[in-house]
Symmetry: D2
Subunit: 340 residues, 4 copies
């Protein structure tokens, strides 16, 4: 990678801080050239730690930097669509946290703009870059489990969402918010598009979500175009830890990804054996966040499309919308009917 790409980060929340640190210290072939953040102290802390040339309070200011090659969008979900469109129109390569938008229509509108101006776009489905999922994909491609038959996923968070993140109008609701990674993995690992879904949901633990019309647990059945099956379970109340497991049953074998033990320490007493569990997201997927950003930088250098683009965002969004409708109506939803 000859010349270094100039990258700007938009938003310095939790994810923005992570991406800023990664770009400043661990991603090769890039220079952290600018940040845009409305909060002054957050902005100043980042500049002080990483000596960033351009610190902007407004996104427009950052997008107007003529030397800036690419942006990493890490703002709240509800702002993604407008920011991607603006960055695209400014001619910048774009990495955007998932999801692009919460509706099929809005996602399609974003893709239309990106298509028109032809800038690279990568969406933050970081699980695809996790070592275990990468190896799973390779084993499936090599035929080690025969033909994929059933996709199973569990995504459980160890806490109810804080009030400011609980509005389904902003989060997309439980199924969109927590299931979208699984819907993306489903398409990718099974090698087929989802054709139709059924779903059930409930609210039993995070009772405050009832006020905003959301639920805390759901199970979603999938059927793929190639007749394969799937089931995705999402939950807010795995208070024992962050629990992400994926399983692919094939015609000749199976793959399982995930484990409960976090550190390799086992305590044996008269009460039995005891070990810890994975406390947070970063403990499980820290390296994947690094790898996906490195992939983005490498694609820009190589002038090839990132492996996870706008069409993937649209497909996963469509499944999430369909599954939410299926739960709400009690009906089986054909995705073809939504995409029209």
């Amino acid at each position: 990678m000859p010349a270094s790409l100039k990258v700007g980060v938009i938003g310095l929340g939790r994810m923005g801080q992570l991406y800023t640190r990664l770009l400043a210290t661990r991603i090769t072939g890039v220079t952290l050239y600018a940040i845009a953040e409305i909060d002054t102290s957050a902005r100043q802390r980042a500049v002080a730690e990483f000596s960033i040339p351009h610190a902007c309070s407004e996104v427009e200011e950052l997008l107007a930097l003529p030397e800036l090659d690419a942006v990493v969008i890490a703002t709240p979900t509800s702002t993604h669509a407008e920011l991607v469109k603006a960055a695209a129109r400014a001619g910048k390569a774009i990495f955007c946290e998932k999801p692009l938008a919460l509706t099929i229509e809005e996602t399609q509108a974003v893709l239309d703009v990106v298509e028109q101006v032809q800038v690279p776009l990568q969406v933050g489905f970081m699980r695809r870059f996790d070592t275990a999922y990468q190896e799973a994909k390779a084993l499936i491609a090599a035929g080690r489990i025969g033909e994929p038959v059933t996709f199973k996923a569990v995504s459980r968070d160890p806490f109810c969402p804080r009030r400011e993140f609980s509005d389904p109008a902003k989060s997309g609701g439980l199924i969109m918010d927590m299931g979208i990674h699984d819907f993306d993995l489903a398409r990718w690992l099974m090698g087929s598009e989802v054709e139709r879904v059924t779903a059930e949901g409930t609210i039993l633990v995070c009772k405050e979500l009832a006020e905003v019309g959301d639920i805390d647990n759901a199970v979603v059945n999938l059927r793929f175009r190639n007749s394969a099956l799937g089931n995705v379970e999402v939950s807010r109340n795995a208070f024992y830890g962050y629990d992400i497991r994926t399983e692919i049953l094939g015609s000749e074998g199976a793959l399982q990804i995930g484990r409960h033990q976090h550190t390799p320490l086992l305590l044996l007493t008269r009460a039995g054996a005891q070990h810890d569990v994975t406390p947070y997201l970063m403990e499980r997927f820290g390296d994947a966040y690094h790898t996906q950003l490195q992939h983005f930088a490498q694609c820009l250098h190589d002038r090839v499309a990132p492996a996870v683009g706008g069409a993937d965002a649209l497909a996963a969004c469509t499944i999430a919308v369909a599954a939410t409708q299926a739960y709400q109506t009690g009906q089986r939803i054909d995705l073809a009917a939504l995409a029209s």
Copy 2:
């Protein structure tokens, strides 16, 4: 247990042979008093090995033995209903392999007869007697995982059914045949009845099942009356081994039952680590078969109703019928509509 109960086994297939051996050698408080089996050589082998006083070729002959206290019915599923009714009318206590019958109507008809003559009836949901499930039930009752929120089950067999066992008219079809244990566990462990179901199914591996109108994989979503959720997956093509796992997510914790490693041997080479898997049903649940028969004997001695009776058989059958309909119609099925 003062006097020994005289027990007869009806049918000497795989399960009948197992029950015969258990009654002859390991169940206390009983005497293996009679067998009924039409095949002469099978009958003679059993008599030779276990010195059984009465070896009958016809069931009627066995049921007519005045001293016989109880029967264990281990014949093909399609004969269960008539045999239970006959045994009940003969005044015998009854242990019957699951399921009692393949339809709600027929199951109800059996229960009506049993109710009328008031004989004890236990149905062979042996998983309830497995040490791990027993402990799981106790931990839930003790509140260790808070309120049960989601029930998950995987039941996978390591082979396609042989042709003589593949007729859905005799097996009840995939969901009934393989899911019925899970539907029973679901009710028992969650402490609530299933209210409605959705399901998806497919045939991708055991292609010969298409000829008889059956499928080889299915995923079934459950919703319980107390608003809890569930998902049951059944498959014929876990060629890596017999794979039974159950999971209960609660409001304060979770329980997982099942493991892949069969013997405690790990081989570590340059290719990674390797261990075996559970080859067959008996390797996983051998002890549970023993415990359930001992429970039956103990209940008869104590003159209390067995823990798993006819109402449990009816409830699990109803869920299986509803799930099969849900898959076939693509509709959500309310169980209340079926029970009418």
Copy 3:
């Protein structure tokens, strides 16, 4: 196996009861023909349960039964040597619980008598018949881990010995009592004899053993004739459960046998994950006791020598004696010096 062998059990303690039940109900090709036990009520209970033709209060009476083909000796260790010699002189085939005797000299004296009268002799090293160890032996023989380099063993009991079993004059002391199975496995799995040993021991938990001159923990280093290494750890104070693990590191891979989780149940709570451990010997090796007795019966039918004979007993005893001396003297002990 045409005719049934007539077998007698000597001693109805814990092991004798187990062997009696196995011979009566699960070992094929044998008839439980006689028992010898001085305690009247224990004798009567066995006769009542299993309808045994000959119930003797004295061993001599049992050995004098002309039709008796074989004996299973399950009396206290200190009586083994005399009973084996008596049974041999009576021309009976012999299965004897380990160890044959507690000294090299006494063991050799037993072997001399057996050699002279040429009766079959099997010693109860039941771990060799465990499925996992059998598979380990086969994998080593197949070259899957290259040449065996280091043998590691852990044998831990979950309780201090009761006073009546704690006298080293009767048990042989900690290293003999608990290590002898490991010394036998070491020779068998490594395919080489032990040449020399060093050892350390201590008494820290079962303090009452100090009164009888025994210890509660020891670590023993082995060096084999083929230059391979080994380490055996034995402990009385694994109060978390019965913990038996064996490991063979080879030039191309490794094998590990053993696990902590007993039932496949995992409890996940805010406090972490928890599972049970193996409570007792029978939970881990129940099947191996069955298999070794079946092997004995089969060898008698086939007129071949059992796989685990007197020479194996002598070799394991010699290692145990050497290791105990090594601990007591602080010196490295060459086994050649002992065998003279």
Copy 4:
């Protein structure tokens, strides 16, 4: 931590590069102020990547920088002693990779100089900073396993040492090179000093080590002053992966640290279940290297002595020397005799 400490790295081999990157990007409260490395291109690569103010070809040049607060010594083992003494005399705080020196005398000489000039010294026993070992220490301190009774350690590398690293005069030989981390953990976790050792060693796989007089496998028995026991096994030929496990058996329970599965991916096929193993050191202990450097920086800021200092280096070195002698002579070695 108000002002930033100026730190210099001496040596840019594998470990020096790691420490340079950590100091430049992840350790807070420090500035990477200088490097010393004789190789010009290595030096220039580091300067180019991390913008280091002072790049020296000679150590003397670096130690002469008046503003430099501390040094990190990451040169070959044989140079540690002289460099620590020189840095101490220059008044710099010192972090030195383990071991300080390969003999008791040389280590003592280093400590004498450090003692005289009173500079902070931390030695790179990074395992103490691993999350699992930290938690183990805390659980022992809290009495969760009662009194520690037996310490067990396995340290296995997945490759024979390359020729340039195989000279025992430079590495200290197998037991020193691979066991020193375990000897340090033994003292720390058991809370008692080692009193005496016995050992066995062999050369069976890395045959080229015979030319330089080293071995490839060893087992070392320990006895602590408080009568506790220990065993440490070291091996060069765990070709299946980097295998580090530690176990502490106590009077009331046990702790186990270590696992074989690296990524949480399980492949299930007809051949059984398969998963990967930990390929290299960094996959297992990457975070611990970070944490130990952060601890060093924090101690300097807080003006407290680092948790792992010169006395620890001397104690671990003494055990390693004793264990090597024990193997070579076949005698039990009392450490008191060596320390005189």
